[in-house]
Each structure stands twice: as structure tokens, then as C-alpha cells.
């Protein structure tokens, strides 16, 4: 008799839908999944953060040193490979590069010194590209008029088009360019990428990325003029 009663109509609790069909289940599921995956991501990032920061710092130091390889080499005899070797990079950076705070304390610029000789300045400049902010390091001779070298180290331009401003072919064009004469800016102009023997004031642009190429020039003049003026003002005090 008791067996028959057990097999009778379902009780109210038995009739309730399974867990994954309840109205709150999608919300609870999404919440749990989000917490688990984002938590794992946070853990993974935190555990690797020191390595990432170290890698970024070393990449930045390497970029600055690479701009002054010829100048440092001419004074010390060190080759590019020796200067940028993984083992000696931090030591060489501390030896040849001295960060200096801007007079207003807002940002820093860098001075390159070898055996007490000022080899040049390096500025961390920022500008607007086609898709977002771009940042570059530009090394100038001590006269603050001639470019030693330029390196765009952070950008969000179109891969394969605007992003080619980071390639040696584009950046090497700036080496030796005189940007100021009698303290007045000399305007550089863009010419097609396949232009033969461009003039001293011409830069071969990246094909298909005129706006990005133009942005590099704008960034160079706008930021450099500001920084130069601040340094000159500071020197006159």
C-alpha cells in the first residue's frame, strides 16, 4: 500500500522545473561565469604583471639607446650590438641616458651623455594618428635643431598601412633632417613613397597612409616646438 502512495501524483516540489529552466538561472549563470573567467584573467595578469612591466621598461630603454648608437659609439667605441645586448642593456642605459624632469614637472625628457660630453636630447612626444594616440621618441642633437633619429613606439594605426611608420624605411628618413633654421621651423613636405632622390625637406610618405604620415610630421613640430621653448626658457633663467 505504501508503495502505491509513493508512485501517486507528484508533490508541489517535484513539479518545479529543473534548475537550468528557472527564470533566475541565466542571470546566476552569467554572473558565475563572468566572475570565474574575469577572476582567472585578473589572476593571470597579476602573476605576470612584473614581467610585463620589466619587458616594457627594457623595450623603452632599448628604444632610447638605439637612437644614440652612432653618437655613443663615436665617443666610446661601443658597437650597436654591444650597446643593446640583453645583458648590458640596463647598465648601458643608466650609464649613457639621464632622465630630466620638465620644468613644470609634467613629463621627462632625456639627455644622452658619454664621458661628460652631451650627445643629444631625447623627447617622448605624443600626437593624434588616424585611429588613436601615437607616441614617439625623437632624438635631437645638442643644438636642438637637427634630428638624430626618430622612433614611433606606440600607435594604433592600420596594420600594414599606417602602422608602417614604425618601419626603418620610414623612420630613417628623419635622421639628419634640420627642423629649425634661425630658430624658425623648416617645414617638411610629404612626397610619394617611390619618389626618387627627394630633397632635404621632403619625406617619402607611407603609401595608403597619407593621414598617418602627415600626423607624424604634425606631432614632431607641435611637440618639439613646445619642448624646445621650455628648455630654452629654463636655460635663460
Amino acid at each position: 500500500m505504501s508503495d502505491i502512495q509513493t508512485a501517486g501524483p507528484l508533490s508541489a516540489s517535484d513539479q518545479s522545473p529543473p534548475l537550468n529552466e528557472r527564470s533566475w538561472y541565466p542571470i546566476a549563470f552569467m554572473l558565475v561565469v563572468s566572475i570565474v573567467f574575469i577572476g582567472l584573467l585578473a589572476l593571470f595578469y597579476r602573476s605576470n604583471e612584473p614581467r610585463i612591466r620589466q619587458a616594457q621598461q627594457r623595450a623603452f630603454r632599448s628604444q632610447i639607446l638605439s637612437l644614440f648608437t652612432e653618437e655613443i659609439g663615436s665617443v666610446t667605441g661601443l658597437t650597436r650590438a654591444e650597446l643593446l645586448s640583453a645583458e648590458e642593456l640596463d647598465q648601458n642605459y643608466l650609464r649613457f641616458i639621464k632622465p630630466v624632469l620638465m620644468p613644470d614637472g609634467s613629463s621627462a625628457y632625456y639627455r644622452s651623455l658619454a664621458d661628460g660630453t652631451l650627445l643629444g636630447y631625447c623627447f617622448d612626444i605624443t600626437g593624434k594618428g588616424l585611429w588613436g594616440t601615437m607616441r614617439a621618441l625623437v632624438a635631437m642633437k645638442p643644438d636642438l635643431m637637427t634630428v638624430i633619429n626618430l622612433s614611433v613606439y606606440d600607435q594604433m594605426e592600420t596594420p600594414g598601412l599606417g602602422a608602417r611608420i614604425t618601419e626603418d624605411k620610414f623612420r630613417d628618413q628623419f635622421a639628419g633632417k634640420v627642423l629649425y633654421e634661425d630658430d624658425k621651423p623648416v617645414s617638411l613636405t610629404l612626397v610619394p613613397e617611390d619618389a626618387v632622390d627627394p630633397y632635404l625637406t621632403e619625406i617619402r610618405q607611407v603609401t595608403g597612409a597619407t593621414i598617418t604620415s602627415r600626423s607624424v610630421l604634425d606631432m614632431l613640430y607641435k611637440e618639439l616646438t613646445y619642448v624646445r621653448n621650455r628648455i630654452r626658457q629654463e636655460e635663460q633663467k
Partner: protein
């Protein structure tokens, strides 16, 4: 279906690009250089395989109403893991990749395979499907990039092959050329292998 059949189906018969017309944005964007295409392809294969595996493992618990949100979350999770790993352990490669890794999140193929396969198949089969779909995608990218890089830069994987006598086609470096080549590519494949089979 056997593992081999799953792979062949997802890589060739049901190829994401020429059959399903998925992942077109990235195909147009990155195929001007072969190296970019290869890197993008490897990233997609890795992310696809792991995303498919995870979604397949969770398939019986994911509510239908939030399945796409869950899939997007899982895709983003793996892509960001790859990004963090590269930044920490392979910073030089990470620098070269630039925004490519992040672009994988927006690739329709990942969501497409999750919806079409991983939500209703076993984990191992889903991994194979992911690898197959990524492989098929990479092949198409490399085929288009081969034409564009040779004609646009005169090189293959950055190595000059055509010399200075070759007049570089600027249009090949820009996105419109990818539209043209991709269209011709899809037309040739469909005309030769799928004609009359629809």
C-alpha cells in the same frame, strides 16, 4: 564523423571564408603582408581551438538566452590570455603583432564555430573543428597575401623576389585590392568545387 572528416569539413568543405563568408573584415585588413597573415592565422587557430573546447565542456549548462554573451566572454578570455602571455614572455613578437591579437575577438569565425559546432558536439571533436576552421582561414589569408605582397611589395615574407625592375602596384597594398582578389578567389572555388551542388 571521424576526426579526419571533421577537420576536412571545417577546413575545406565548409571553409569559413569561401563557403560561409565569415571573417571577411580581417581578411581584407591583414592580407597585404604574408607575415601578418600567418601571425593572425596562428592566433585564430589557438583561440578557436580553446574557445571551442571550453564551450563544448559547458554546453549542457549554458542557457540559450545568454549563450552568445557567454561565447563572447570565453573568446575574449582566451584572446586576452594570449595577449598577456606574449607581452610577458615574448615581448618582441607582441610588439610585432600590435593590434592583431585584440582583433581576433571580433573575428566572426570564432562565434560562428561556437554556435554551429561546439554547442552541440563533444570537446575533442570541437577542438578538431576549431583547428580545422582556423587552418582553412589561414590558408585563404596566405593565398591572398601571397598575391598582394608580391605585386605590392615585390617580396614574400619580407624577402625581395622581384627586384627593382618590378613596378610595385600601390593598389595591392590597400584594402580595395583585397576585395577584388577575395571575390575572384571565392568565384573560382565556388565555380569549380560547389557548382550545382547547392
Amino acid at each position: 564523423m571521424t576526426t579526419k572528416q571533421i577537420f576536412i569539413d571545417s577546413a575545406f568543405r565548409e571553409n569559413s571564408i569561401w563557403k560561409q563568408i565569415l571573417g571577411i573584415c580581417s581578411t581584407l585588413a591583414v592580407t597585404n603582408l604574408m607575415l601578418n597573415s600567418l601571425i593572425m592565422g596562428i592566433g585564430v587557430i589557438f583561440s578557436l581551438a580553446l574557445t571551442n573546447l571550453t564551450i563544448s565542456l559547458l554546453r549542457n549548462y549554458i542557457p540559450r538566452s545568454v549563450r552568445m554573451m557567454t561565447q563572447t566572454l570565453i573568446i575574449a578570455f582566451y584572446v586576452i590570455i594570449v595577449d598577456i602571455y606574449l607581452k610577458a614572455y615574448l615581448p618582441d613578437i607582441s610588439m610585432q603583432l600590435g593590434p592583431y591579437v585584440g582583433l581576433i575577438i571580433t573575428n566572426c569565425i570564432l562565434m560562428g564555430r561556437a554556435e554551429a559546432f561546439a554547442v552541440k558536439n563533444k570537446p575533442w571533436d570541437s577542438v578538431i573543428d576549431g583547428i580545422g576552421a582556423g587552418f582553412g582561414y589561414t590558408l585563404v589569408l596566405l593565398a591572398i597575401a601571397l598575391i598582394r605582397e608580391i605585386m605590392g611589395f615585390g617580396s614574400i615574407f619580407g624577402f625581395t623576389v622581384l627586384g627593382d625592375r618590378w613596378t610595385k602596384w600601390s593598389i595591392m597594398v590597400m584594402a580595395p585590392s583585397a576585395f577584388l582578389i577575395l571575390a575572384v578567389f571565392i568565384w573560382i572555388i565556388n565555380n569549380n568545387f560547389y557548382k550545382g551542388k547547392a
